[in-house]
């Protein structure tokens, strides 16, 4: 739908974005834990109009056995978009993009999960994008992080992430779809906030080295906000259970 349109103005004369947000403002976030009966842990994570469901199975015995690793758990991670998550139907076969994102998400989870506690075992993490409206890799990663916490799997920290972009030359926090499509840059970054460690970091588009430094500062601020909401969601689940 958007592809046929002319490039819209991304920042108006008041300095606001196409959805009325300030450049440093996040979209509304909703987190729900334990949404699936069968999975050991699950979560729905919404950020604006992006919505992802994640499920965790394990730790469990690794099959086939020869794939098991003697010193740590094998993670099996799938990021997948439902065909109805985008404006035009997405072919459900895994695209090259989904294969790449499954890899960067797995690598991010490897650094958070204490995989050395479960040698020879496997943990499965599945993410389905239900609505795609920019930021799906990060919302998927955060949904996975919440599902892992819901499953009680030991982690060094929760993962919080946000994309910083450049729209009409202005650095903006948490890109929306128009900014993702028409903006000059998209820099997704995810961290373990208490440890100050970056677990996922990419950039496509162009930035100057100076803009990169400003973008990292902006991301840090957004990540701190999201992290508080994640901790709140976990505490709320515990209150419900007890």
């Amino acid at each position: 739908m958007l592809a046929a349109q002319q490039r819209p103005r991304l920042i108006d004369e008041r300095g606001l974005r196409t959805d009325g947000r300030r450049p440093d403002e996040l979209r509304p976030i909703r987190i729900e834990l334990g949404v699936l009966k069968n999975a050991d842990g699950s979560a729905i994570f919404e950020m604006g109009n992006t919505k992802v469901i994640a499920a965790v199975y394990g730790p469990k015995e690794m099959h086939p056995r020869h794939m098991a690793l003697p010193d740590r758990t094998v993670l099996r991670v799938r990021y997948h978009m439902t065909p109805f998550s985008t404006d035009e139907r997405k072919n459900p076969a895994p695209s090259r993009r989904e294969i790449e994102l499954s890899k960067v998400i797995r690598e991010a989870l490897e650094s958070a999960i204490l995989t050395e506690l479960f040698p020879r075992a496997t943990i499965d993490v599945f993410m389905e994008v239900l609505q795609a409206d920019a930021g799906t890799r990060l919302v998927s990663l955060m949904a996975a992080s919440m599902a892992l916490a819901d499953a009680g799997i030991p982690m060094r920290d929760l993962i919080a992430g946000v994309a910083v972009g450049k729209a009409d030359g202005v650095l903006v926090l948490d890109l929306n779809e128009a900014e993702d499509m028409w903006g000059e840059a998209d820099m997704p970054i995810a961290m373990m906030p208490s440890l100050n460690k970056v677990v996922l970091f990419q950039l496509n588009g162009t930035m100057t080295p100076e803009e990169l430094r400003q973008a990292l500062e902006l991301a840090k601020k957004g990540i701190a906000e999201i992290y508080q909401l994640e901790k709140k969601a976990i505490k709320e689940k515990f209150v419900e259970v007890s």
């Binding site: 294969i99 797995r106 820099m187 970091f201 496509n204 162009t206 100057t208 990169l212 990292l216």
Partner: protein, 276 residues
């Protein structure tokens, strides 16, 4: 599905790992390089004669061959005044003991997509030069990068090989009669490369950062950061890889190191190989 695997890792003994870290404490590497030093680079343009453009790149012991092919195509409806660019990377079974034949796996796909984004976002490939009849006929530029010897930092070598092969590509002369296009055997002097891009990879090994990691360094690294640059030092792509993490403050520090190395690499491309 992405699965944890040690297939890309050489088995590096704890003794070797300790000696790599011990040497880095003294500011040297086991192959006698300084932490910010690139391995010797060689580029042979036109190595594969049937390709429209090709380049054999050696970076230390790493060897990568890139070849291009031009095919006449229709443009995408939303970009009538642009040709098409397609990048593919293959990790060949002859390149490393544990590599198997088959369609590109996640590692090959990631390499291809990082190279593709670097070339595309930088506008280093001038896609408007690939237009024959606007909206009707364009060239599709296929860039196939074949990894022949997997000896560390295949990422940077792949970008160099792709850039050099595109630089080596000269568009054929064509005769246009209305909507009829006749491709002649002669070539123009026109290359689709507007300017080179480079990707610089730094690896975090223990508390140290090294540029252009060799295979042993890569296999004990916690994380790698690959940053792509244009000659005017715009950043045109970043990819963090491997299952470890780095501190937020380390990113600007690493970027300063990779930027300096990128500057040196651009000088070498220009002065030694004439690619500018």
């Amino acid at each position: 599905m992405s699965v944890t695997s040690d297939r890309l890792q050489t088995i590096v003994s704890n003794v070797k790992k300790a000696s790599i870290l011990k040497a880095l404490e003294r500011g040297v590497r086991l192959d006698n390089r300084k932490p910010d030093e690139y391995r010797p680079l060689s580029i042979t343009l036109g190595y594969a004669k049937k390709a429209d453009g090709s380049a054999l790149v050696k970076l230390g012991d790493t060897m990568v061959l890139a070849g291009t092919k031009l095919e006449m195509d229709e443009p995408f409806p939303d970009t009538p005044n642009q040709g098409n660019l397609m990048v593919n990377v293959e990790l060949l079974p002859l390149a490393y003991e544990t590599f198997e034949p088959g369609p590109p796996d996640e590692n090959a796909i990631e390499l291809a997509r990082v190279v593709d984004r670097s070339l595309r976002d930088s506008k280093a490939v001038d896609l408007s030069k690939l237009v024959i009849i606007p909206g009707k006929k364009v060239w599709s530029l296929w860039v196939d990068v074949y990894v022949l010897d997997f000896a560390g930092n295949v990422m940077d070598a792949s970008t160099i090989a792709a850039v050099a092969a595109i630089y080596n590509t000269k568009l054929p002369k064509v005769e246009v009669n209305g909507e009829e296009v006749k491709v002649l055997t002669e070539r123009t002097d026109v290359t689709p490369l507007a300017y080179p891009v480079v990707t610089l990879t730094a690896a975090k090994v223990g508390n140290f950062v090294v540029i252009d990691p060799n295979l042993e360094e890569e296999s004990i690294a916690d994380a790698k950061l690959s940053i792509s640059y244009t000659p005017d030092m715009r950043i045109v792509g970043i990819q963090k890889s491997l299952g470890g993490a780095m501190k937020l403050e380390e990113i600007p520090q690493i970027e300063e190191v990779t930027r300096k190395a990128a500057n040196r690499l651009f000088s070498e491309l220009k002065n030694t190989f004439g690619i500018a």
